[in-house]
C-alpha cells in the first residue's frame, strides 16, 4: 500500500497539497499537536485522490474509442462491452484504486478504522517482519525478487511463444536443450573476444626477466675490488638465504631485501653479478625497463608473473635472488625526491638526506675544477658534480673560483642551489609499484584453487602459504627517486652505500688493469695514482689506463710510462683544452693569477695536494688550479676555512701586488666563493665575533632580526675578508720568487702537474719541469725584467712584450736559500 497508510498525523491543518502524499511521518511518531485526539489519516487533496482513477478511466476510454474508430458497424455500447472483456485488467485496476480511495476516505473520517489498519494489520505485519534477522530478511527479499523476475520472464516468454504460462513452464527444459547450440556459439564468440585480450596481454607480460643459475656466471666476490665492507655485508645476506635455519631456528627471519646505492660505476651491478656467481640459488635479473609498458596494467601483470615465477623457483631451490637493476625506473609516488636539504625527517628519508648530502659533497672531489662553464667538458663525474652543486649560477669568465676549495667548502657554497632530481622514472601510477610493494610484503594469503576452494568445500582449512625465501636486490644511483614504502624494513631491510672504492681497492684496481698492459710504473707510482684519484671507480680506472695506452701508442711506444698516465688523467679528469692561444700579456696575467693560487695553496693547505695547474682555456675558464684530497675527512676547522678563503683571495692580492694595484674581472668568481664561504661560516660556525647561527635564524624565518645593530652583517663579512686579504698579502710577499717561477713554468708549459709545482717550489726535478733552474741566482733578475716589461705593456707604455726568457738547464745551488726563506714564512703563517 501507499506510504500514506502509515501516517499518524492528527492535526486538522489544511490540506498540505499534492506534495504531502508522498511524505510520510513515522509510524512510531506520537501525535504532534494534540495527544488526546484520536488519530486519523491526513486528508488527501482531490487531485491526489483522483489522479489514478482519471488515468485509468482515460486509458479505458481510449481503448473503447480505438475499438469504435474505423469500424462502421460498431456501436459504442458494444465497444464498451467488448473492451470490458478484452481489457478487463484496466477495470480491475480501476476498481482496486477506487477501493483504496474508499479505504483512505474512511481512514480520514473514522479513527478506529484507521488505527485498526495502521496498528493492527500493517503494524503487526511490520513488527513481525522486523523480527526476522537482517540476513534472513535480505535473503527473503532476494528470493522474492528472483521469483518475481522469473515469473515475469516466464510470462513474457509465454506471450512470445503463443502458449499459456503453464505450457511455457513445461516447455522450458526442452527449449533450453534446443537453444544449446546457439548458446554455445555465443559463448564461443565471447571466448574468442576475451581470448584475444588474454593472449595479447600474455605476450605483453613476457620478457624483461631472465633467470641465471650459478654455473652460468663466472664473476665471483673476489672480482669486486675495493668494496670489501659492502661485499661482506652482502655475503652475510646471501649466507642467510642459503642457510635460513641458522637464523630462523633462533626466531629470526631471513632479510628480504638489499638496496645497493651509490654513484655510477662503483660496482653495484658487479656485486650483484658476483652474488649470482657465488650463490647456489637461481638468480633472476629484471631489466630496468621491464615494467614500463605501453598499456596500463601490463606492468602489474608483469610484477605478478615475476613473483609467481620467484615463488616457484623459491620452492624448488629453497630460495631465489631477484635483482632489479636501475631500480629508480620502478618509480615513486613522490616523497623522497622532495625537501632534501631539510634536516628533519625519519627513516629512509632522513637516511638518504644524510647520505646524499655527503655523496653530493664527495661527488665534487673528482671535479676539483667544478665550475659551471668548465663542467661542460671534463669527465662525466665532474659534469654531474658541477651541475649538482652549482645549478646554473653564472660566474664571470676567468679563473675557476672554486677549484682550490675543499669539497666541504664547495658543498657549503653550493648548498642553497642543491637541486636533486626526484621523481625518477614513471610507472608509479599505473599500479606497478603498488603491485610490487604488495608482492614484496603483502597479505600472506593461501594460494591456489585446489587449496582454497576444494579444501574449503571438503571442510578443510586451506594450507597456509609456505615460506618463500626471496632475496630482493636493487641497485640505483638515484636512491632519492625510490618510493619510501619500498625501503621500509620487511621489504628492503638493508641499504648499503656502494661508495668510491677504498685506497687499497683503487691500488688493487689499478694493478689489475695495469697487469693487462705493458707498463713501467713502480709500486710507489701506482700508490700515488690511487692517492691522486680518490673518487676513481673501477670504470674510470679502466678508462684511464686505456687512455694512457692510447697516449703511448700515439707516441709509437708499446710501454705505458708515468707521463702517459699523467696525461691520461688530465684528459679524463679535466677534459681536453680548447685550441686557444692567449695573447702574451693576458697569458702572463693569467699565469700569475694561477701561480698566486698555487703558491698560497702549497704553502698553507694541509691534507690536500695540488693536482694540476693550467692556463689552457677550457670553455669560459681561462685556467685553474685543481686539488685532490689525500685524506678522507669529515670536518673542517675554522683555520682551514680561512686558508680556503685566502687561497681564493690570492688571485686578487697577487694581481694587485704585481700590477700596481690593478686587477682583472677574472677574480670575480674567486671573490664570490670567498664571500660565500665567509658569510656561511660566519653565520653558522662562529667564524667571526658572533656565536649565533644566522643560517638557523634564516631557516626559522627570523632573518630580519639583527644580531648586532651596530655592526651590520655585511660589515662583519667585509672586515673578515679584509683581515684574510692582509694575511694573504704577507704570504705572497714572502714568496715572490716562487710566484714568478710558477708563472714562468705555466707560461712555458701551459699545464703542469702537482708534482711539478712541488718541484718548482722545492727546487727539485718534476715529471715535466726541472725545478732546480728556478733557484738559479739569475732567474729572479731575468724574470723580474720580463715582468716589469709586461707591466709597462699593461700600462700602455710599450706595445710589445719581450719574449719569454729561456732559462738554463743547469740547476743552481742558490735555489736552496729561497726555500729556507719560504719555509720560515710558512711556519709563521701557520702560527
Amino acid at each position: 500500500m501507499d506510504h500514506a497508510d502509515r501516517i499518524t498525523d492528527l492535526t486538522d491543518l489544511p490540506d498540505p497539497g499534492p506534495s504531502s502524499s508522498g511524505s510520510s511521518s513515522s509510524l512510531a511518531g506520537p501525535p504532534a499537536v494534540d495527544p488526546a485526539a484520536k488519530p486519523r489519516r491526513r486528508p488527501l487533496s482531490l487531485w491526489d485522490r483522483s489522479k489514478f482513477l482519471l488515468l485509468l478511466g482515460a486509458v479505458f476510454l481510449f481503448v473503447v474509442a480505438a475499438e469504435v474508430s474505423g469500424d462502421p458497424l460498431m456501436s459504442w455500447g458494444d465497444a464498451l462491452r467488448i473492451q470490458a472483456r478484452k481489457s478487463a485488467w484496466i477495470l480491475v485496476l480501476l476498481g482496486a484504486e477506487a477501493l483504496r480511495q474508499v479505504h483512505m476516505l474512511v481512514g480520514e473520517r473514522w479513527s478506529a478504522y484507521y488505527v485498526f489498519w495502521t496498528e493492527r494489520v500493517f503494524g503487526r505485519l511490520e513488527r513481525r517482519f522486523l523480527r526476522i534477522n537482517d540476513w534472513n530478511r535480505f535473503r527473503l527479499s532476494r528470493a522474492a525478487k528472483w521469483i518475481v523476475g522469473l515469473a515475469l520472464a516466464l510470462f513474457i516468454y509465454a506471450r512470445l511463444s503463443h502458449t499459456s504460462v503453464f505450457d511455457a513452464l513445461v516447455n522450458i527444459p526442452g527449449d533450453l536443450w534446443d537453444a544449446i547450440p546457439v548458446v554455445l556459439q555465443i559463448v564461443l564468440l565471447m571466448l574468442l573476444v576475451v581470448g584475444q585480450f588474454v593472449v595479447m596481454f600474455w605476450f605483453l607480460s613476457k620478457g624483461g626477466v631472465e633467470t641465471y643459475f650459478p654455473e652460468d656466471i663466472t664473476t665471483r666476490f673476489a672480482d669486486v675490488w675495493g668494496q670489501d665492507h659492502v661485499v661482506s655485508r652482502v655475503r652475510e645476506n646471501v649466507f642467510y638465504l642459503e642457510r635460513p635455519e641458522e637464523i630462523e631456528s633462533r626466531g629470526g627471519h631471513v632479510p628480504g631485501g638489499i638496496l645497493l646505492w651509490g654513484p655510477p660505476g662503483t660496482g653495484k651491478t658487479l656485486i650483484a653479478e658476483a652474488v649470482a656467481g657465488e650463490t647456489g640459488k637461481p638468480f633472476v635479473f629484471v631489466d630496468p625497463g621491464a615494467f614500463s609498458a605501453m598499456f596500463v596494467g601490463v606492468g602489474l601483470l608483469k610484477v605478478k608473473s615475476l613473483f609467481r615465477k620467484l615463488r616457484k623457483l623459491s620452492l624448488r631451490y629453497g630460495g631465489v635472488i631477484v635483482f632489479f637493476d636501475e631500480a629508480d625506473t620502478l618509480g615513486s609516488r613522490g616523497g623522497l625526491g622532495g625537501n632534501f636539504g631539510g634536516g628533519v625527517g625519519t627513516g629512509a628519508r632522513s637516511f638518504f638526506a644524510r647520505q646524499s648530502a655527503s655523496a653530493a659533497a664527495s661527488a665534487a672531489h673528482p671535479a676539483q675544477a667544478a665550475h659551471p662553464t668548465q663542467a661542460a667538458h671534463p669527465t662525466q663525474a665532474a659534469q654531474a658534480a658541477g651541475r649538482r652543486l652549482f645549478g646554473e649560477h653564472p660566474v664571470g669568465p676567468g679563473c675557476n673560483g672554486l677549484s682550490y676549495l675543499s669539497a666541504a667548502a664547495q658543498a657549503e657554497i653550493g648548498r642553497e642551489q642543491f637541486v636533486v632530481g626526484g621523481g625518477g622514472g614513471g610507472g608509479g601510477f599505473d599500479g606497478t609499484l603498488q603491485a610490487l610493494l604488495t608482492e614484496m610484503s603483502g597479505l600472506k594469503k593461501p594460494r591456489g584453487f585446489l587449496n582454497r576452494v576444494v579444501r574449503r568445500t571438503l571442510g578443510l582449512r586451506p594450507k597456509p602459504p609456505p615460506k618463500y625465501r626471496i632475496l630482493v636486490m636493487m641497485a640505483t644511483n638515484m636512491p632519492q627517486s625510490l618510493d619510501e614504502a619500498l625501503l621500509r624494513p620487511g621489504r628492503i631491510d638493508r641499504q648499503y652505500k656502494v661508495g668510491y672504492p677504498s685506497k687499497e681497492g683503487r691500488v688493487r684496481t689499478f694493478e689489475g688493469y695495469l697487469a693487462r698492459v705493458r707498463h713501467e710504473l713502480t709500486a710507489e707510482q701506482v700508490d700515488r695514482l690511487a692517492v691522486m684519484s680518490p673518487e676513481a671507480t673501477g670504470a674510470t680506472i679502466k678508462d684511464t689506463v686505456n687512455e694512457a695506452l692510447v697516449q703511448a701508442v700515439k707516441d709509437g711506444r708499446e710501454v705505458i710510462t708515468w707521463q702517459d698516465m699523467l696525461r691520461a688523467r688530465v684528459i679524463k679528469e679535466y677534459g681536453l683544452a680548447d685550441d686557444h692561444e692567449h695573447i702574451d700579456r693576458e697569458r702572463h696575467s693569467i699565469a700569475l693569477h694561477e701561480a698566486c693560487h698555487a703558491v698560497v695553496a702549497y704553502r698553507m693547505q694541509r691534507g690536500r695536494v695540488i693536482d694540476l695547474a693550467t692556463i689552457e682555456r677550457r670553455g669560459g675558464v681561462g685556467g685553474f688550479v685543481a686539488h685532490v684530497a689525500v685524506e678522507d675527512r669529515m670536518f673542517m676547522w675554522k683555520s682551514e676555512i680561512e686558508i680556503q678563503v685566502m687561497v681564493s683571495l690570492a688571485s686578487l692580492v697577487g694581481e694587485r701586488m704585481f700590477f700596481e694595484g690593478d686587477n682583472t674581472v677574472g677574480v670575480g668568481g674567486d671573490l664570490r666563493s670567498a664571500t660565500t664561504l665567509v658569510a656561511n661560516y660566519l653565520s653558522s660556525a662562529a667564524m667571526g665575533d658572533t656565536l649565533s647561527s644566522r643560517l638557523a635564524m634564516l631557516a626559522q624565518d627570523m632573518g630580519t632580526l639583527s644580531l648586532d645593530a651596530d655592526r651590520p652583517f655585511g660589515q662583519q663579512i667585509e672586515s673578515k675578508l679584509r683581515e684574510l686579504y692582509e694575511r694573504t698579502e704577507v704570504v705572497l710577499q714572502n714568496n715572490r720568487r716562487e710566484i714568478l717561477a710558477l708563472t714562468h713554468a705555466l707560461e712555458e708549459h701551459k699545464t703542469i702537474t702537482g708534482e711539478d709545482v712541488e718541484a718548482i717550489m722545492e727546487g727539485a726535478v718534476g715529471p715535466t719541469v726541472d725545478g732546480r733552474r728556478y733557484h738559479e741566482p739569475d732567474f729572479l733578475s731575468v724574470f723580474e725584467g720580463y715582468h716589469s716589461n709586461a707591466v709597462s705593456a699593461h700600462r700602455g707604455q710599450t706595445h710589445e712584450v719581450h719574449r719569454l726568457p729561456e732559462l738554463g738547464r743547469a740547476a743552481a745551488e742558490s735555489g736552496r736559500q729561497t726555500e729556507g726563506t719560504v719555509g720560515a714564512v710558512d711556519e709563521r703563517e701557520r702560527r
Partner: protein
C-alpha cells in the same frame, strides 16, 4: 478556531467531489461489465476495410489457409500458395455451438455456416474478372439455371415441383466508393437434400480486390433463419483501403 473554520469549506467540497468521482467510476464499471454481453460479434478486417456483424451467438474464427475458390489447386505451386496466403484473409462463420472449420460448407447444416473472405487478385485474374464472373464463383449459377430451364422444358411440372436449382434473389449491388458486385440467393438440390446459399461477391473500384461473403445451410434451416442470414449479408460493409496491396 480560525483555522478550523477556514478548513471546513474545502474539506466538504473535496468530500463531495470524491463521492461524485467514485460514483462515476462505479457507473462506468456497471455499464461496462454489469449490462451483459454485446449484441453482436464484429468480424473486422481494418487493413482491407471489410466489416461484418454477426449475431452474438455465432462463432467466427480466422482460417489459416487460403480458400482456393476459383483456382485449380493442382496448378498451385508452393511459392504461389505462399503468395496467395499473404493475399488472403478468410474468416469462418458458424452459428453452431461449436466452431468446426472442417464443416463450413456442408449441404445439410442445420444452422447457418459460411465464410467471409478478402482476396487480392493476381494481376491476370484482375484483368480477366467481370461482374458476371462473380456470379459463378461458388457454383456456375448460369449453367445451373440453364439446366433447370432445360428440365422444365422436358418435364414442366415435375421440374417445377422439385427443382434442382432455384434462384431466389439475383441483384446487382452498387455501394459507396465504387464497390460493386452481385448478391444471389439460390437453392440447390444435392444428395443430402436442398441447400440454400446466400452469396455476396463484391469488387473494389479498381477490380483488384475481391470481397466475398458466403452463407449456406439446408433449405429448412434457411426457412427458419433466413431473416438472420439476410441481416448478416446486409451488414457486409466494404471501405476499400489502398493498404491491401
Amino acid at each position: 478556531m480560525e483555522a478550523r473554520r477556514r478548513t471546513t469549506g474545502p474539506r466538504r467540497t473535496s468530500l463531495c467531489a470524491t463521492f461524485a468521482l467514485l460514483s462515476v467510476v462505479a457507473a462506468v464499471m456497471l455499464a461496462a461489465g454489469g449490462c451483459g454481453s454485446p449484441r453482436y460479434q464484429y468480424v473486422t478486417n481494418k487493413k482491407d476495410g471489410a466489416f461484418l456483424r454477426v449475431p452474438n451467438s455465432w462463432n467466427h474464427q480466422e482460417m489459416p489457409g487460403p480458400a482456393l475458390f476459383g483456382i485449380d489447386a493442382r496448378n498451385v505451386s508452393p511459392e504461389m500458395l505462399q503468395g496467395l496466403m499473404s493475399r488472403e484473409w478468410v474468416v469462418g462463420l458458424d452459428a453452431g455451438a461449436r466452431f468446426d472449420a472442417t464443416r463450413l460448407l456442408v449441404p445439410d447444416a442445420a444452422l447457418p455456416k459460411g465464410f467471409a473472405q478478402v482476396r487480392h487478385l493476381l494481376p491476370e485474374e484482375a484483368n480477366a474478372v467481370s461482374t458476371n464472373d462473380l456470379r459463378n464463383f461458388v457454383l456456375s449459377v448460369d449453367d445451373a439455371q440453364a439446366a433447370q430451364d432445360q428440365a422444365v422444358r422436358a418435364d414442366p411440372y415435375g421440374a417445377r415441383l422439385a427443382p434442382s436449382f432455384l434462384l431466389l434473389a439475383d441483384e446487382v449491388v452498387h455501394k459507396k466508393d465504387g464497390v460493386h458486385g452481385v448478391h444471389l440467393v439460390y437453392q440447390v438440390k444435392t444428395d443430402a437434400g436442398l441447400v440454400t446459399i446466400d452469396q455476396t461477391s463484391l469488387l473494389d473500384n479498381g477490380q483488384s480486390v475481391l470481397y466475398q461473403l458466403i452463407l449456406a445451410c439446408s433449405s429448412l434451416c434457411y426457412a427458419q433463419h433466413g431473416a438472420q442470414i439476410g441481416d448478416v449479408a446486409k451488414s457486409f460493409t466494404i471501405k476499400p483501403t489502398d493498404q491491401g496491396q
